[in-house]
């Protein structure tokens, strides 16, 4: 292959700008290309994130002062439900599938996913599910005649969701929106499992798969196991509401606790479904910027599998206060705490990777470094909650809200940002601006800590979650005000980010094939990669094929 300079003017990204918009749109809508679908997942995830973020900001304005009347109870409850539902199902999930779609085939040296059309189907199911959910704002006849979005909380405890207590169609929209998008997610998970199992390039044994691929593979398998129980539970609820069935009808002997079991059997693994991609990203970014291979690769794989398996046996920790037997509480306390061990292994192995490296603190690495600290704090509050008697105090309080925003933002979102900065050059051919990136990082991390660190305190002082207002004088006022101010600071960060994306798309610095001096296969093709990814399917001999080429005197395959 000739080593020639490529002038940007003739790159495909540029030339497509001259094609009419309608035709571009058509290209994206009918595509079966994993890269385009991946980008669409990520883009729609970002849009949903902004929407849900704005909803969160409105809730925070309402809560800034005691007995504020910026929002009424119904509006607040709807925003709360839509914020949580959106963030979990329409931000976290598409980010997982987006990065999996985009990166996995490139990293395993494949041309596409195993079932490209099924992939498109999965994406559109996800998107239309979300659209249906949001259509409730117009289409659902609420109690007061106006349209109303669902207002039962993101885990929709029975019997609040029964026809008796939730009239109108709002709850039906919630069920259907999630049900349909889950079908899409299951399809995509099947696709990913199959792709990784069967389409790795020659030489890429399981032991040579990049850890990113490993973790997402485990994650997709986890989705197979836990998403259909949610689907089943939603179907039951649908039967209750439309056919008069009694699954969760407490008046006819049905059980409210059964719904909780079904929901959390999905719900807990779901949070690991969300966090595993974050782990995957960190496992990719930290080594590259520390200039060392990942410390303890085999044990990292083992820890991932352990997390996947244990996560299916801990769901009752969301139910410590429903009054189960002490034996059950004890067992699930043990299994929940056990998960700290494989997670700890991961943390320490990332630290081990950084130790002795030559760390380049570019923006992706900044996010991952911040993630390490924030996530440990978040995990530790998780362990505090797993201590059952303490959970009796703190369950359903703002301490829990602080815990899960710490994991979801400090853990998941930070890494999503890292991934966006890391792979943006690959996907667009242009770098994101480093200076703006640092501003984004600084403001967002500051705002995040200003918001969610103080949020632990009202929880410890007895403030329950999901309240639209509270009485003055309970010791919560000042804390809530600080929390709300923090959101404004976060918003500044987000605005820098948006500006960065928009301006860099138009005139960012050209990236070249391999801007980070990376080691996995995606950096061996162009940025953006051609539709077929590689002219020739590569062959690999180690976990870091590009290292082998860059350091023929000291290749990895001599050691692995």
């Amino acid at each position: 292959m000739a080593v020639l300079d490529r002038s940007l003017e003739s790159s495909p990204a540029e030339s497509s700008a001259r094609v009419p918009v309608g035709s571009i749109l058509h290209d994206w809508v009918v595509t079966a290309d994993h890269k385009k679908l991946g980008l669409m997942y990520i883009a729609s995830g970002l849009v949903f994130f902004l929407v849900a973020g704005v909803m969160a900001s409105m809730m925070r304005i309402q809560l800034a002062l005691p007995q504020n009347d910026f929002l009424g109870p119904n509006t607040f409850n709807r925003l709360m439900t839509m914020h949580g539902t959106t963030m979990v199902f329409f931000v976290g999930m598409p980010m997982f599938f987006g990065f999996a779609n985009y990166v996995v085939p490139l990293q395993i040296g494949a041309r596409d996913l195993a079932f490209p059309r099924l992939n498109a189907f999965g994406f559109w199911m996800f998107l239309f599910g979300g659209v249906l959910l949001y259509f409730s704002a117009l289409g659902s006849e609420g109690l007061y005649g106006a349209g109303s979005t669902p207002d039962v909380g993101w885990f929709a405890y029975a019997p609040l969701t029964s026809r008796t207590f939730s009239r109108g169609n709002a709850t039906d929209y919630w069920i259907l929106g999630i049900l349909l998008s889950s079908v899409g997610s299951t399809a995509t998970a099947i696709n990913l499992v199959t792709t990784v199992a069967t389409m790795r390039c020659p030489g890429m044994t399981l032991g040579r798969m990049p850890l990113f691929v490993w973790i997402l593979w485990v994650d997709a398998i986890l989705v197979l196991f836990v998403l259909s129980p949610l689907t089943a539970a939603q179907v039951m609820l649908l039967f209750d509401r439309f056919l008069g069935a009694h699954f969760f009808d407490t008046q006819a002997g049905g059980s409210a606790v059964l719904w909780q079991h079904f929901f959390w059997f999905f719900g807990h693994p779901e949070v690991y479904v969300l966090i595993l991609p974050a782990f995957a990203i960190a496992s990719e970014v930290i080594p590259v910027f520390s200039r060392k291979p990942l410390f303890g690769y085999p044990i990292m794989v083992a820890a991932t599998i352990c997390i996947g398996m244990i996560s299916m046996s801990v769901w009752v920790h969301h139910m410590f206060v429903v009054g189960l037997e002490p034996g059950a509480n004890t067992f699930f306390a043990a299994s929940t705490m056990a998960i700290a061990v494989p997670t700890g292994i991961k943390i320490f192995n990332w630290l081990g990777t950084m130790w002795g490296g030559r760390i380049r603190f570019r923006v992706p690495m900044l996010w991952c470094t911040a993630f390490l600290l924030e996530f440990v704090l978040a995990g530790l509050t998780g362990v505090i909650l797993a201590t059952v008697p303490i959970d009796w105090q703190l369950s359903d309080s703002y301490f829990v809200v602080a815990h899960f925003h710490f994991v979801l933002i400090g853990g998941l979102l930070f890494n999503i940002f890292a991934a966006i900065y890391y792979w943006f050059p690959k996907a667009t051919g242009r770098m994101l601006d480093e200076g703006l990136g640092r501003k984004h990082f600084f403001w967002f991390v500051l705002g995040f800590n200003l918001t969610f660190l103080p949020m632990h305190v009202p929880g410890l002082l007895g403030m329950p979650r999901r309240i639209y207002t509270y009485m003055p004088g309970r010791g919560w006022d000042a804390w809530n005000l600080v929390v709300t101010i923090g959101v404004a600071v976060q918003a500044i960060g987000i605005l820098y980010f948006l500006w960065n994306v928009i301006s860099s798309l138009r005139d960012g610095e050209p990236a070249g094939d391999d801007p980070w001096d990376g080691w996995t296969l995606e950096w061996a093709t162009t940025s953006p990669p051609p539709e077929y990814n590689f002219e020739e399917i590569p062959t690999v001999r180690s976990r870091r094929p590009l290292w082998d080429l860059k350091h023929p005197e000291d290749p990895d395959w001599r050691w692995e």
Partner: protein, 281 residues
């Protein structure tokens, strides 16, 4: 990485773009959307779904519809990955060995675990002796340990605590064994990292350290034990444990030969440059 070279082709076949999956999704969503809007929506959705499903089937059967994607001109292809100019540092090691496990003679698991078992026995003996000496019953310390998880025992008086209780015995044994084995394993792993004075560190410093920790938290962990414990005797039993494990672990390996070896080697670091690599993959 090396590329598999086929004859240079002008194009690669990729699945053709198709709208059917999107339309099927739209159909299904409309179909269900009718539940909350209008039956007409359901009907439209169902029709759309059937048509789209058929369209999709025609797309892949009998042969899937592929599209020729022209290869990019050579100038626009990825550049070859070239050797880097950066030199790679290597860890300094005092002696040669195999990368996978350094030093070769260590059997950390077995040594640590056996040590833990021995320590468990020694500690149990010491504790039982103290129990007999102080309260005339070997079961006394055992019951106290079991009180960690058995609230009934934590309220019990000295008389109940001196009696044999099979449940308490079972629970205490499990806790005792588990903790001993884990700490033993830890000894097996960590002591070799320390260049010298294994007996002192393992036998005295470490037990004193965790006794101090225990002292701080025992009130919460096991109030019953906390109320009745005699610290000197407790420290004695811990030190007995530490000495036993430390002695066994340090005896079972030839630690002395490692004193001039770098920490990296003692820690069993796996790195390029340490030991010999494979020549051909």
């Amino acid at each position: 990485m090396s590329a598999r070279r086929d004859d240079d082709r002008g194009s690669i076949r990729m699945p053709a773009p198709t709208a059917w999956p999107m339309l099927l999704a739209a159909g299904i969503c409309l179909g269900f959307g009718g539940l909350v809007t209008n039956a007409i929506v359901t009907a439209t959705g169902a029709v759309l779904a059937v048509i789209a499903a058929w369209g999709w089937i025609r797309e892949v059967l009998p042969v899937q519809h592929l599209e020729e994607v022209a290869l990019r001109p050579a100038a626009l292809r990825a550049k070859d990955v070239r050797p880097s100019t950066a030199r790679v540092d290597h860890l300094e090691v005092g002696q040669d060995g195999h990368r996978m496990r350094l030093p070769i003679e260590i059997h950390p698991w077995t040594a640590g675990l056996t040590g833990g078992l021995i320590g468990a026995g020694v500690m149990a003996l010491v504790a039982a002796a103290i129990g007999v000496a102080g309260y005339g019953s070997p079961w006394y310390p055992i019951n106290l340990l079991a009180a960690t998880v058995m609230p009934s025992l934590s309220q019990a008086g000295t008389k109940e605590l001196s009696a044999f209780d099979p449940t308490a015995f079972g629970i205490a044994s499990v806790i005792h064994l588990l903790a001993s084995l884990l700490v033993g394993a830890l000894y097996g792993l960590i002591l070799p990292l320390v260049p010298r004075r294994h007996a002192l560190i393992g036998g005295l410093v470490a037990p004193l350290f965790w006794t101090g920790l225990l002292w701080a938290v025992l009130g919460v962990l096991n109030p019953a034990l906390n109320g009745r414990i005699e610290w000197p005797a407790f420290v004695l039993s811990q030190v007995a444990f530490g000495v036993a494990v430390g002695w066994f672990v340090s005896r079972s390996e030839k630690i002395a030969t490692l004193q001039d070896v770098s920490l990296a080697a003692r820690a069993g670091i796996e790195a390029s440059g340490l030991g010999k690599g494979r020549d051909e993959a």
